[in-house]
Amino acid sequence: MEPNPQPSANGPPPKPWEQAGSSSGPAPFKPPSAGNTSDVVEASGTAKPGEIVSASDRTAAVNRNSLGRPVPTRPWEQNYGNSTYGGYGSTMNYNSGYGTGMYGSSYGGLGGGMYGSSYGGGLYGGNSMYRGGYGGGMYGSSGMYGGGMYNSGFGGPMGGYGMGGGPYGDQDPNNPFGGPPSPPGFWISVLRVMQGVVNFFGRISILIDQNTQAFHLFMTALLQLFDRSGLLYGELARFVLRLLGIRSKSKKVHPPGPNGQRLPGPYNSSGDVNYIEAPKAAPSGGSWDNVWGNDSPQ
């Protein structure tokens, strides 16, 4: 069970890079030591077996942070109340700085106003690497895309994946190696205003359009219902009456003959089935049945 390291006897196949020499100049590292790792570390005097770092040590480490940057809240300390997409917005446990609801909100597309305030207001303004991939709302109050124009109404992917700018930050005037962004020129401001206006009316027209369509559909359905209702109720009434045992009498009238009598003969055009079903087929004019008038069995 004890896995004894036997590197020479039990090594993996050679790595493809082992045959190739290092292609650049001298490295700033001390040459590697011989022997196994634990011996090397112990020989250097830096070994500290089984050290457990407590939270207080961690706080001390913050002071050693040579960058002097504030560090974000820890993933497990994060306030994930502002998450908008279930677990995604919160970074409780899966590391990596999604804490500010950055992914959460844009993924769900609910982010309109949220971005407007948190990103646009210059939080990332200085050397915004967040330009580029983020759409709509992120540019919120910087105004370019209006107040959350892409983000708030039309759902997820549109806002989430960014309509603004290409994904390549290189064309970004705000790339981290450039200076701070200059204020927008006159025409840009005008265009932004125009865009806001167009967007506003676009929304209103969509609203009206949708309502009109809904109303139309409703009225059409209603009219169709009324249109058919006579038939529907007639059938229904007949059915109910039949169930009640009331049989509506067929009011079939035999059209009279030329002299008020039924026309004799089988070829009588107005003759009905009953005539044919009469006990005796009556040849033309030869039947006594017709003597007393039209009394064919009904």
Binding site: M1, P12, S22, V40, S96
Partner: protein, 318 residues
Amino acid sequence: MPVFKTPFNGYSVKFSPFYENRLAVATAQNFGILGNGRLHVLVLSPDPSLPIAELASYDTADGVYDVAWSESHDSIVIAAVADGSVKLYDLALPPTSNPIRSFQEHTREVHSADYNPVRRDSFLSSSWDDTVKLWTLDRPTSVRTFKEHAYCVYSAVWNPRHADVFASASGDCTVRIWDVREPGSTMILPAHDYEVLACDWNKYDECVIATASVDKSLKVWDVRNYRVPVSVLNGHGYAVRKVKFSPHVRNLLVSCSYDMTVCVWDFMVEDALVSRYDHHTEFAVGVDMSVLVEGLMASTGWDELVYVWPHGTDPRAP
């Protein structure tokens, strides 16, 4: 190419350095926020039309965030577990006797594990308790703890050409280069303005290192001149989660991101993005390139799928 469905959300995938058809996958339930984890060892069939088979799987009481193959034993895998433990599993042993070791020293989630490919007797673990620990198989405890970072350490990777040097990427926006014989870090790279989530060494140049960050970019650095990056690779739409240099091509690297894509880059050319794979439908958080088969790639993500495909083909192609 074959796809494997894991019951939990994928977190990391690594090819075995011994067998070209074997890979290990770390997964965690409920996106790693709460719940169990599982370590899968998968076997690729020689016929790509056949599905990927599972050789073994080990359950843990907390999510598994990373996995590393031993370079000295073909059957040993190391799991970085969210409860702060580092566990060793031996595939050759029955499931009842696994894990063969469980090191409980980190006080927070362990986020990465990396086995020393040069000396092959030690490995590193990096944790959200801001430390990196060095372990050897012949000691019951960690040999050393590297505590300098001011925030979670997301990744610690050995230099593949130098037995004593490694780099660590942290949420304090720095990457630090360490020599296990030195008391402190030997270099501090203020690599990004936002958290650095991963780093990896070039396999053909011991001074070149790539970093991946929440700022959506990858940067390639020469440690001899770390004021200016050699190259900045933009193209991901969200934070870049992992980066890995190709074991076969000097200038090639692969990255995966929260924008759900896996990208392959050539950092020495102007138009650096070589290809983009958008086969995942959730965050792509694990990617690896095979050391033994040139161009063979694997990726996993929160869509609970593991894809294995040769570079240049569609991972979803049947």
